[in-house]
Symmetry: C2
Subunit: 232 residues, 2 copies
DNA sequence: GATGTTCTGTGCGCTGCCGCGCAGACGGGC
DNA sequence: GCCCGTCTGCGCGGCAGCGCACAGAACATC
């Protein structure tokens, strides 16, 4: 039995029988940061239930610009669109922070989605949460200051990694927040100056979690509330 | 029998029996621009299948800012989140352009979603398309010039209204594109100068559809392709 | 035709972020 | 110990869109 912090919470919610049925067909894999799990339009070969890793959905907008629109960790799964009967991924899926995940073939996953199954119900609920997060992130990206968005994203990553320390360079963050690397440097420097975080060569440490929550936009809290309401 | 341009295409795709079963429980209603069909968090009382109207999903981001993240017209439906078993709306739903729609109670809609029903399959596919549109719009809002975004939105509205003429003030557009009214004035003036559109006191006419498509970002074409791939 | 409302258009200073170029700091490999 | 690749930091001009204030134009009402 894995410790609580290393469990996928979506699976943990399932009744024992359903959960064991899923686990039986999963392999434990290690995901590396930057690894691309799916490309837009291509068929999804596997679904993933992250444990300590996290996966970002990233859209491209031409001219080398990209933007992370959702972050998937131990609270959810990648490949939920299979629940809608569609095998292709709507966006690119990039491993955001390395760690472990449970992997299952798409075909096997579909077989587990029998009518009325707990997995299907949970998956549907999670899809709703994702939907909500996507919409919120749209507004967040449009209106909120980079520093607030950065704080939000760091908190989200930390929550999903189950740790206040993780590895992530400015360059990498810039791609998922849709800004220049220097923009991240600026914002991160400020957060560091205020003793909310510490980082050096990609190692990020959250020093003052509460302070960071205050520095983040309300979207962070809204995400948590949305998850809690539907899946808590 | 209504003319093709006044039919909801999602319903039109259903096998005859399924479609008639749905139509039997629908009322024909007229939606007025600006009308709010759902508030975030509140339970959804009815689902809508637009015919000549369109409905925008709008998120608020504090400080009076708002942003339209998806547009629903005769190609889809409002209330699709009921397919995920959740009765509440993730965002605000505002009638974007007036026109007719078919309305059905949420309770009745749920009853029609029997296992394996064509309505459910179509709904799931449409949810996927919406998902895709949401993600794309995020990137579009972040990176593309207002003028391109405006062109895209006008085309989307025109397609859903089934007409090259519709009513929409700068102020209203500003709210859904997440910019100042004056920003729309500027962009619209330019499109008009290039003889792509004409407008006066809220009456918008698309003069050169092909030219407007060129003036829009690739997101417009991508939306069409996405719909075609899944539901065409 | 006088009045109030709605809609559209213009000017001006401001700011958050961009693009680019460059430089310093750290660390691993040989 | 040295080199080279990675990561972080800074300066400068530029630009899209913002906030504000104001003005003209069309329409509705009476």
């Amino acid at each position: 039995m894995k410790s609580a912090s290393e469990t996928n919470r979506l699976l943990a919610q399932l009744p024992r029988r359903d959960r064991e049925d899923v686990l039986e067909h999963c392999q434990d894999v290690e995901l590396m940061q930057g690894q691309v799990l799916a490309q837009p339009g291509e068929p999804v070969g596997h679904v993933y239930f992250p444990r300590t890793s996290s996966i970002a959905r990233v859209v491209e907008a031409g001219g080398g610009s990209s933007l992370g629109v959702a972050l998937i960790g131990n609270e959810g799964m990648f490949g939920a669109s299979l629940l809608l009967g569609i095998a292709s991924s709507p966006a690119r899926a990039v491993v955001q922070s390395h760690g472990s995940a449970l992997r299952m073939s798409a075909a096997r996953f579909r077989m587990s989605l029998t009518e009325g199954s707990a997995l299907r119900r949970a998956g549907h609920s999670y899809l709703f949460v994702l939907f909500d997060q996507l919409a919120r992130t749209s507004g967040c990206t449009r209106f909120h200051l980079l520093e607030h968005r950065l704080a939000r994203w760091l908190l989200m990553t930390s929550d999903r990694a189950g740790s206040s320390t993780f590895h992530m360079t400015h360059e990498f963050l810039a791609h998922t927040l849709g800004v220049r690397r220097v923009g991240i440097t600026r914002a991160a420097t400020d957060l560091q100056r205020r003793k909310l975080i510490h980082y050096a060569r990609g190692e990020i440490v959250i020093l003052d979690r509460k302070g960071l929550v205050k520095a983040a936009c309300a979207c962070y809290a809204a995400d948590l509330a949305s998850y809690q309401r539907v899946l808590g």
